[in-house]
């Protein structure tokens, strides 16, 4: 199973080296990878439908309980099949859609990276590895959305999408860590058995909120939905694959995966119903005001995701059943509609639905695919969409509270979605072919075949629901912790309320389609409300944030070294001073002090003289030399108090510092303008304050009861364990060697920094000359 997941990553790496062979005719061969994976996962269907769960664990970081453990159950299987199946069609479609593109190989690389990440996500049984794959999907989708990287709008949408989904990723990590600390494991299957522990924990609500934010950002729920329409800047295969069938469903997957762990509480259900409900109605209404085909589809996708969240929130068996069926329904018809839109865009060069009509005369197979998908999306029998809609209504009419509101909301959403499906799938193909599109060419086989396969499947599954019933739908429901064995999918359930609601939906929706045509006027009208939309609010927020951070940076990073030092010292003095005045514990035990000898006194006098000379001299070089005197005096003190290692190092460092100073000062302008009187007094006070604080701190350290355990251990074991007699050095190179390794790495980085800064500066002055 690991190989299956890694295959996509390996292929992406392979393309880095062998990409140029896949830019031309061979490109279509890359579809073999998702195709093969699809066959591989499909071979598990008999096992999974008989109730088996296949799991596989590879150790990764066992010390932290982080494993690469994979679990294939009904839910994972459904998603894996969707990812690889639609992936296969999209890979093939891309070969024609982006034929001859300069970076086609790169596109395939990103696409297979994404596919692998997505597979890892839905198969992971470990929360941490799930998080890693989750982030990988965000990152690979960033590259895919921004694929047309010469277009600023596309770069901006890629960044927005990354920002929002990355923001959600943080919450997923937080949720994972929180759940890990509650249960003591990161394994999702082990969490299943600890439902009571989690529900009883005081952090339960917090954990649920974290998981919700992660899922809502990924699955474009209100108020995080706005990145999805923006992401439509991506090439159409990306929209098809990521933004209708797979990535946006990752949030849904997360919610479904955690339903048996966190679900079935009032907070869980109510929040999901409210958020899903708002999202489905809000964005279904929004879809009415779009003229761009992709815009219509984007909003109807958000709305469909809202329905799924809402169904998970209902939390009943029939709701789970409905959500499982609706995931399949939506993946089939929405992917088809996107593919169809892509074909129209590719052939005619426009996606403006107001100018498109009569295209059936040119591209009959595409028209068939579009119309079949529209029927499925509308939920007209005998499509699988009808099954999905019936089940959704059934679940809604059995909602426990606010049944009327819920039913009205879902029926309204479905009516509007029917309109959206018709606009995208039927409108471009019926009516008269306008003059402008007379010369449009028919699309390739590779382009229309995937669309028609998906569209026909949408009808076949509707007529023969047993094809998906025990293979896909029921295992999903049992993964969600419910038992649906006695339920049977069928087109006909007799005359009941649900059928009546269906009839109303179809009738009103079709009427709406005939009376309300998408128009540019409507689009501008809704544009007036743009300023209160979550998107503009977030954009304004980020704008003000960057203004504020520019202001903040300019205040503190003003380019004057003396100001930096002043800020740092002031902060330190205030902070440490505050703590020390809060609980003064400085005590000096006079009896313990050793006698001051004459040579110590002499060194201190030299030291003080050096300090005064440094402060009052008018020559820079003299000041540096005097600083050197101070440093050497301190070295002597180290020697007196038997710290030869320290003294040696300090001595060498001091020598080098003086050399450095001299090197730099040598080149400075000769005339020294001293700071004025006030500044000198201010600086003097500040330095005295810092000196006092540090001095008091040192005394306080002495006053603390010393814990010599560590020191004793080192002293005792230096020779036994590390064959060394110089304890200081043994600590540096052996006991705490990793620290030293990091320190020398930091040293090297700083040297590279100095080198880079100065050399680059030299180059830029060269250029200006």
């Amino acid at each position: 199973m690991l190989t299956a997941i890694l295959l996509g990553f390996l292929f992406a790496i392979f393309l880095v080296f062998a990409g140029k062979f896949f830019r031309g005719k061979l490109a279509v061969l890359s579809a073999l990878i998702p195709g093969g994976l699809f066959a591989y996962f499909a071979s598990f269907i008999p096992q999974i439908s008989s109730g088996e769960i296949i799991s596989k664990t590879y150790q990764w970081v066992p010390a932290f309980g982080v494993d690469l453990s994979f679990k294939l159950d009904g839910l994972s299987l459904l998603f894996s099949l969707m990812i690889t199946g639609i992936g296969f069609l999209v890979f093939a479609y891309t070969a024609s859609y982006l034929r001859g593109h300069k970076y086609l190989d790169r596109f395939y690389g990103y696409l297979s990276l994404f596919m692998a990440a997505m597979l890892g996500l839905v198969l992971s049984d470990n929360l941490i590895s799930l998080f890693v794959f989750w982030e990988l999907t965000s990152i690979s989708s960033f590259f895919l959305i921004g694929f047309n990287n010469t277009n600023p709008a596309s770069r901006k949408s890629a960044l927005t999408a990354l920002g929002i989904t990355g923001f959600g990723g943080f919450f997923l990590l937080a949720g994972a860590l929180l759940l890990g600390s509650i249960t003591g494991t990161y394994s999702i299957s082990e969490m299943l058995s600890m439902k009571e522990t989690i529900a009883g924990s005081e952090y339960y609500i917090l954990a649920v909120i974290f998981i919700f934010v992660a899922a809502f950002t990924k699955s474009a729920q209100f108020p995080f939905h706005f990145w999805l329409p923006g992401a439509m800047k991506a090439p159409t295969p990306v929209s098809t694959y990521l933004h209708s069938a797979t990535m946006v469903k990752a949030g849904i997957y997360l919610l479904m995966r955690f339903t048996p762990v966190l679900g079935d509480s009032e907070f869980w259900n109510t929040t999901l119903i409210i958020v899903g409900g708002i999202t489905m109605v809000y964005s279904a209404i929004h879809a009415l005001f779009r003229t761009d085909l992709k815009g219509v589809l984007a909003y109807s996708t958000i709305s469909a995701l809202g329905i799924l969240v809402f169904l998970i929130g209902l939390g009943t068996k029939s709701a789970f059943l409905a959500s499982a069926v609706f995931i399949i329904v939506h993946a089939l018809y929405k992917a088809t509609l996107f593919l169809v839109t892509g074909i129209i865009d590719h052939q005619t060069g426009t996606r403006d639905v107001t100018t498109l009509s009569g295209l059936r005369k040119i591209m009959m197979p595409v028209a068939i695919a579009g119309i079949l998908a529209a029927i499925s999306s509308a939920g007209i029998p005998p499509s699988v969409g009808f099954l999905g809609k019936e089940l959704t209504y059934e679940a809604s009419t059995h909602a426990e509270t606010f049944t009327i509101i819920i039913v009205i909301a879902i029926v309204l959403t479905k009516i509007l979605l029917l309109w959206a499906g018709f606009v995208a799938g039927i409108k471009p193909f019926v009516g008269k072919l306008p003059e402008a599109h007379k010369d449009v060419k028919a699309p390739d086989f590779l382009m229309w075949a995937p669309a028609i396969i998906l569209a026909v499947l949408g009808i076949v599954f509707g007529i023969f629901p047993m094809l998906i019933e025990s293979a896909l739908v029921k295992p999903v429901v049992s993964s969600l912790g419910a038992d649906a064995s006695e339920y049977h999918l069928a087109l006909w359930h007799g005359f009941n309320t649900v059928l009546l609601l269906s009839a109303i939906t179809i009738a009103v929706g079709v009427l709406l389609y005939f009376f309300l045509k998408p128009s540019a006027k409507l689009e501008t009208r809704i544009g007036k409300f743009e300023f209160i939309s979550p998107k503009s609010i977030m954009e304004k927020g980020t704008h003000y944030f960057s203004v504020f951070s520019a202001f903040w940076t300019n205040v503190f990073q003003n380019g004057y070294l003396r100001n930096y030092v002043t800020t740092i010292v002031l902060f330190l003095v205030v902070l440490v001073g505050y703590v020390m005045f809060g609980n003064p514990r400085v005590m000096i035990d006079h009896t313990q002090l050793s006698k001051v000898t004459a040579y110590e006194l002499a060194v201190v006098i030299i030291l003080i003289a050096g300090v005064f000379y440094t402060v009052f001299t008018k020559s820079r070089l003299a000041a540096v030399a005097a600083m050197g005197v101070v440093g050497l005096a301190i070295c002597l003190i180290f020697v007196f108090y038997s710290a030869p290692d320290l003294a040696m190092t300090q001595f060498s460092i001091d020598t080098l510092t003086v050399i450095l100073f001299v090197l730099v000062l040598y080149r400075l302008p000769k005339y020294l303008t001293l700071s004025d009187y006030k500044m000198r007094i201010r600086d003097g006070i500040l330095s005295l304050a810092l000196g006092t604080v540090i001095c008091l701190l040192a005394l306080q350290v002495l006053a603390e009861p010393t814990n010599t355990e560590v020191g004793d251990f080192y002293a005792k074991n230096a020779y036994i364990l590390a064959h060394g007699k110089n304890v200081v050095n043994v600590i540096l190179v052996d006991f705490r060697g990793t620290d030293t390794l990091m320190e020398i790495a930091v040293l090297s980085i700083s040297a590279i920094g100095v080198f880079g800064l100065l050399k680059l500066r030299l180059k830029s002055t060269d250029r200006s000359q």
Partner: protein
């Protein structure tokens, strides 16, 4: 500062100081010293030579950019830590020792190689910084 006395002296001082720095490096395990101080002393030796004979002469003497010592030293230090992981499946940075002490040097183990790595990095860092600054200032 190209005085004759300093220049003549530096010709003798450079090898002496370098030998001294290696001595400090090796004695570190038993007596005050070690890779860090040793590296600083070696760097000072080169800086002194540069003062006396000019930077270009010192660079010519070195033949390669001192910055190359940084990756070499870091690599050596890292490998000395990695050796027990690869050889014996022990944790990173476990000390490995030759059973018998070597003449003059004494006990030799992975810690010594680690210290040599530190020594090289310190020389590389110090010289890179000082040379860069004195070239560009």
């Amino acid at each position: 500062m190209k005085t004759l006395i300093l220049r003549t002296a530096s010709d003798y001082l450079l090898p002496l100081l370098l030998v001294f720095s290696v001595f400090i490096l090796l004695r570190g395990h038993y007596l005050p010293g070690g890779g860090f101080v040793g590296g600083l002393i070696a760097a000072i030796a080169f800086v002194l030579h540069a003062f006396a004979n000019g930077l270009d002469n010192t660079k010519g003497l070195l033949r390669f950019h001192p910055g190359f010592l940084m990756p070499v030293g870091l690599g050596l230090a890292f490998l000395s830590g990695l050796a027990p992981v690869i050889g014996l499946d022990d944790p990173f940075m476990t000390g490995l020792w030759f059973p018998e002490p070597f003449p003059v040097i004494g006990n030799v183990g992975s810690a010594l190689f680690f210290d040599i790595g530190v020594y090289l990095v310190v020389i590389g860092v110090t010289l890179t910084i000082i040379f860069t600054i004195s070239e560009s200032a």
